[in-house]
Each structure stands twice: as structure tokens, then as C-alpha cells.
Symmetry: C2
Subunit: 250 residues, 2 copies
Amino acid sequence: MASSPVPHEPPIYRRIADRLRQAILAGEFRDGDRLPGENALMSEYGIARATARQALAVLINEGVAVPKRGSGVYVRHFRPIRRHGSRRLSREQWGTGKAIWDSDVTGRPFTVDDIVIAREAAAEDVGRVLGCGEVWVRRRRYSVDGRPVQLAASHFPADLVEGTPITVPDTGPGGVYARLGDLGHAPVHFTEEVRARMPSPDEAAKLRLPAGTPVIEVCRSAFAAGGTAVELNKMIIDAASYVLQYDFDA
Amino acid sequence: MASSPVPHEPPIYRRIADRLRQAILAGEFRDGDRLPGENALMSEYGIARATARQALAVLINEGVAVPKRGSGVYVRHFRPIRRHGSRRLSREQWGTGKAIWDSDVTGRPFTVDDIVIAREAAAEDVGRVLGCGEVWVRRRRYSVDGRPVQLAASHFPADLVEGTPITVPDTGPGGVYARLGDLGHAPVHFTEEVRARMPSPDEAAKLRLPAGTPVIEVCRSAFAAGGTAVELNKMIIDAASYVLQYDFDA
């Protein structure tokens, strides 16, 4: 155990990766650009091929670069979307707070497609959370700047929302939460469960994920006063496109 | 767009995966057991090889199973650790709330090793958040049931904590937050930023991750009253071992 002050120098491959990442963030390389290859890095830094490969692997692992077979490594840069779990407590109130990851806080327009609305039998886990056998589900895909970034499936207890605008495409002003409010079941509390895993082939196709990009799965339960679960939204998120932010007091 | 009630039946490979997962969760297959192979699934369900492969791929993607070359697919079952971002609002107050993912809420003992404590130059992102050029950092690895599950590196502004127990292995009762309190900088607010990505080779080795398992990166900033950032903890988490839970009010 080293408990005395020592300087900490990251290994060379990591410093090269840091420099390339900074160049990407600074706009010197843009989305779709080819990065310097192994040969170029070897001669520029006087390093072995394995080291050059390691440096590029760091960026590939982070999802900021994508290898194309026989052609090199290309920038996949997308300013990540910052998703606030709890706006009420969010960073605006913490003036000096600076974020680890650069991202857009302000509104980038989403487009929505692949909308499917249906009444169906609840999957086992959904039925357990919502306490019902049938659900109305609203499925859709979100894209930003033409890039699919999220698949979402909101589930509602079928008998609770049957015959309401929650079962049709246009839910009206304020959306589904306003409609739950009309029914006397406005959400007052949310729980989000977050996991990460590799995507299924179907998810990878719908989100157009390059090989090796994981997804974040967010399951958001909404509870009305008294603790009744009124919605379960399962979100599958391109991990390279998002930063999730949660704020809370001690 | 289908907006009329239609029954929703998942594809056959997914139903087989669901059945195998339930058998794992029910303890019929245990950690390290070999799952039925493609041939066994083909004859049991009367399906094509590609379908059997898809079913097993679902479990591999979820991190519940691991392929071993030429030998089959094996259970990698680990009851995930539920990590509460904000205890104060947590599910205990939401009596009827049921979780999507089965996991241990109660205390499973962590063991800690690979402890390194050092004063060092702040990495660019760390320095920006903490507003300093040098930090004291406390690095360690957490394991549960003998399995490494998390690498953590807590950073503190060097001049703030120099000469305090935060710079030595035993920080005393209440740990680093109590010591920050002694200094008049008790954390009152936390921000967590969450991302997922593939691990670096070094992270994969330290967490003993099988190929294809992503990590979740949690960057937790602690703020004292007035908004001063007093700690930045970078956690690298085995995605197959954790569910992160966040609770907040509407």
C-alpha cells in the first residue's frame, strides 16, 4: 500500500487515447472522420504496434470510435444527451457544480417513430410491479439528430386506463401523466432501476448500434399517492449517447 | 400503427430464454452449471439451431450465462446488488412497490482490497469538478462473495484534506464524510452521473469480467453547503452484478 504522495502518470496508450479524445471533443476530428491508424501512431509517438492498438481500443471501448474491417478506426462522436432523473434537485441549484462529462443540457429536439399502442397480456415482471394481468402499452423509438437513441415501452394497468386517451396516439396536453391525473392517479413518486447489458439483436438493429456498444436499461415506476404503481416505463438506451444524472440531498 | 387491442406473444427464442432464466432464478441451475446446449434445446422444443442459439444469446447478453469455447454455455448467476442512490426516499416508504429485478436489499458483506492512497496531479476532468490541480485519491476494489464487483477511486482537493485522516488507511468512525464534516465541509448534496461502456483491459482484469460484459461508470460528486465540490468518487461497476436504484418525488 502506497500512502505517501507519489506522482501518478497514466500509461502511454492511455495518454495517446486522452489526446485523441480531446481532439475529437475539440472538433479537430468530426463524426465519421478516420482517426490516425496504428502505423501513423507508431511513427508519431515512437511506440509499438500493440501500444497503438491499445490506444485506439480505449476509444472503441468508450464508444467514441468504431473500427471498420480493413479500413481503419472512425470517429463516432455524438454529444451525449444528459438525462435528469430528478429535475427538482438538479444541478442548476448547485452553482459551482461542474459535470464530468460534456453534454447537452439544453433542449435537443427528439423525433419519435415506430409507435405501437396495444392492449396485451402483461409480462411476468411488468404484471408483478403493476399488480395486473393485462396492460396497455405504448411503444416508441426516440431519435436525436437522426440517430436512434432510445426505445421506450410505457405500461399501464389495462383496466385503469381503458377508454382514456392513454390508449390512443394523441394523449392531449400534458401527456399520459396529466391523463393519469384526470383519473385521480397523478404520479407523486418515481423509482428508477438502472442496469447495463449487451443489446439483443433486435435492440441493436432498432438502435443501429455498432458491435460492442452496450445498452442501459432504465425501468421507471410511477406511483400515485398511497403507493399504487400506475406506470412502468422500460427504456432501452444507447449507452454511447447518454449520461444519466441523478441529484439528491444527503 | 396498431392502436387496437392485440395479443402480444414474444418470439419463441425469447420464451425459451425466459424459461431458462426462471430456472436459474429458481435455483434449478446454479452458478457454474452447464445449460442445455443447442442440440438439447432443438430436440426439446422442436426448433432450428439458429433459434436455439438465439435463446442462449439472450442469456449471454444479459450476463446470466457465459459461453466457453467448445464446451457449452454456463450459468453465471449472481444475485445482483441493489445500490440505492438516495436511501432517504427509498422504496421502504412505498409499501406496495415491487422491484423489476430480483436482488439483495439487505446487507451482504463487502471485502475491500487493492487499497492505494496517494497525493497526485488531478486528471483534467477531476480537476475541473473539484477546482484544483492536485488531489488526494483513495483507490480500492470491492468484492462480494469472493467476486470483485466494483473499483472505486475517491478524489479530494489535496489542500483541503492534507494532514487529515482522509490521507491514511483508517479514516476513523464515520469515514471520509465524517472527516469532511470535522473540516466544516460535510456533504449536503450529491450528484451522480451514470454511463455504461465496455471495460478497458485493465478494468476487465481487475473485475475478472468475462468477454462481453459491460461496466457501469458512476461519477458521484459530493457538495458541501454553499456548493463547493469536496469529493469526486469514480466507480467502475460490473454491470452484471448491480442494479442501481434511484428514488425521487414528482
